[in-house]
């Protein structure tokens, strides 16, 4: 896919995110929309995947450590062909495999159950270390929220990744600067994030998380880096693509009403 096609795909992802959260009547639109461009690049360009064979041993792994952005991952998987797009409206409903937070044993393409912040990055470290033990070339990606970096376990995991020189691991931080209680810097400041990651032994890259080509370049650099893991700090806008959701902490975990969804889908058309 070229850049224009990837941009169009990201738009489709955002439409599906709005539709499924509206149908569910609950969910997390803000952080799903901020992650949409990065997930598009991973699922439609950079990751080695076989949607028709989800457990293919040669696949790259993606761990959504910020598991509440499940709608973005479900949309990417459905549009990539892991399961029917029509299933997306089952999100969060009784007996649906599309649980509020991703479950590995239920959904094809979901390798790791996440939802409790701080844990996905450790699971990604386990995957990367295990692949190293077996001398396999698969790459492991994980995406964290910036607020998630307030969890102490994140730093245990980052220490581990650098100590074991996990250059097959790329940690992407969706830096949208908002969390439930407000601005990250006011709730509990995590800055200077780049300096902290550098001090923890990471190859640190800063990128505009809504610029497809910039994301592609950063991932190429991450894969080329040897001897240490890479952290991509992706500057993003929470609620990106829907004017009334952008930069509003209130849209972290609130579903749009039908008329709001209609307006959102018009903007994303």
């Amino acid at each position: 896919m070229d850049t224009l096609e990837l941009q169009a795909k990201a738009k489709e992802l955002r439409q599906e995110i709005i539709k499924m959260i509206t149908a569910a009547g609950s969910g997390h639109p803000g952080g799903s929309l901020s992650a949409a461009d990065i997930l598009t690049v991973l699922y439609f360009d950079k990751m080695n995947l076989r949607p028709e064979e989800p457990d293919w041993t040669g696949r790259d792994y993606f761990v959504l450590s910020k598991g509440h952005a499940a709608p973005a991952q479900y949309a990417a998987l459905a549009l990539r062909g892991y399961f029917p797009v029509e299933e997306l409206t089952g999100l969060r409903k009784l007996h649906s495999r599309l649980q509020g937070h991703p479950v590995s044993s239920k959904v094809p393409g979901i390798d790791v159950s996440t939802g409790s912040l701080g844990q996905g990055v450790s699971v990604a470290c386990g995957l990367a270390k295990g692949l190293k033990i077996d001398k396999l070339p698969n790459h492991v990606y994980t995406m964290l929220g910036d607020g998630e970096c307030q969890e102490g376990q994140v730093w245990e995991a980052l220490m581990f990744a650098a100590h074991y020189q996990l250059d097959n691991l790329t940690v992407i931080i969706d830096h949208n600067r908002l969390q439930i209680d407000g601005q990250v810097e006011k709730v509990m400041n995590i800055e200077p994030l780049d300096k902290k990651l550098d001090a923890f032994g990471f190859n640190v890259l800063l990128v505009n998380g809504h610029d497809i080509e910039a994301i592609q370049n950063a991932i190429d650099k991450a894969k080329a880096c040897q001897g240490r893991p890479t952290a991509i700090i992706a500057n993003t806008i929470k609620g990106r693509g829907v004017s009334f959701m952008e930069n509003q902490a209130g849209w972290h975990g609130t579903a749009p009403k039908p008329e709001e969804a209609e307006q959102a889908l018009q903007e994303l058309a």
Binding site: V123, A128, D134, Q153, E156, M159
Partner: protein, 312 residues
């Protein structure tokens, strides 16, 4: 008297033995390998041993990643840290996705000794038993530990293996066969039955011996698997004996005593008394002093059996 061996020693030795044959085996520790005895595995198989440093939450969750790749994972720390510090990681990243990780926690119970209450896990079985998909095993001696570790290495479910610091006698007979989910009648009887696990099994057998001298015929059942509980055996022995006592080096809340009580109450109610730590913290002291201080004694077990019989 046989040579005394701690269950943690048997654990480390068995992991080291398995290293050669089970190429999928990976072992993790959080800076306590010399105490948990995973150092025995690290010595023979350094490439598949991972020390995470003093970071139990990360250890448990890294284990989940390794198990996702199909590894057979054992991870170890002291029971208080593995279960206490990393509870939610165990619940959400191992038990919920049903990953085959064995959390082999050592230094459980009061017999940690001089380190005191901060290091004496007396509620770990209760916590692990409450988690769906989790199997909970408390071996009584070295041989039972060896068999449990070998079976858990092939076990496709999450498991909690509770091990001790203190060297313990070989209790089980030479031909003993451990099986996950099964209890074993070690001594038959019809006046009362004692269900015991871990290092209290030996004291339960001694109590039955003393009671026999007084003409009281007490059965003793080894219950290494606390979950899933061998309910069929519990009910059969309850019907045969009509009075029961549970014995464990754990709080009387939530462990073997609670598991047996739940089964009996729902299926075949009989008088039941529990010997265990009576809902209080431990303290510093020598292991034997602590067991005596908290009533984990042969005499107390025998007294409880008589009391249970009187309630028939």
């Amino acid at each position: 008297m046989s040579e005394k061996i701690a269950t943690r020693e048997a654990y480390g030795q068995t992991l080291a033995e398995l290293a050669a044959t089970d190429k999928n085996l990976v072992v993790l520790d959080a800076d306590l390998s010399k105490s948990t005895k995973t150092c025995d595995f690290a010595k023979v198989c350094p490439e598949r041993f991972i020390d995470v440093g003093i970071a139990e939450q990360n250890m448990i969750t890294v284990s989940a990643g390794l198990a996702t790749l199909g590894k057979h994972v054992f991870c170890s720390s002291f029971a208080i840290f593995a279960v206490g510090r990393a509870f939610e990681q165990i619940r959400n990243s191992i038990a919920y996705p049903q990953l085959p990780v064995t959390i082999a926690a050592t230094h459980a119970g009061l017999t940690v000794g001089e380190d005191g209450a901060t290091h004496q896990a007396i509620e770990d079985v209760a916590i692990m038993r409450a988690v769906p998909n989790m199997t909970v095993i408390v071996p009584a001696d070295a041989e039972e530990t060896r068999q449990a570790v070998r079976q858990l290495a092939e076990y496709p479910h999450p498991a909690y293996l509770r091990l001790g610091r203190l060297a313990v006698e070989q209790i089980l007979p030479a031909d003993y066969q451990f099986q996950i989910g099964k209890g074993t009648v070690l001594r038959d009887g019809n006046d009362a039955v004692i269900f015991a696990c871990g290092l209290m099994l030996g004291k339960a057998l001694q109590a039955a011996e003393q009671l026999a001298a007084e003409g009281i015929n007490t059965a003793v059942v080894n219950m290494p698997t606390i979950k899933p509980l061998d309910s069929e055996l519990v009910c059969r022995m309850a019907k045969q004996c009509g009075a029961a006592v549970t014995v464990e080096e754990h709080s009387i809340i939530g462990g073997l005593g609670s598991a047996v009580a739940e089964t009996l109450t729902e299926n075949c109610p009989i008088p039941l008394l529990r010997v265990g730590v009576n809902d209080q913290f431990g303290q510093s002291g020598k292991p034997d002093e602590l067991l005596t201080e908290y009533g984990l004694t042969v005499e107390n077990i025998a007294a409880k059996v008589k009391e249970a019989i009187n309630r028939k």
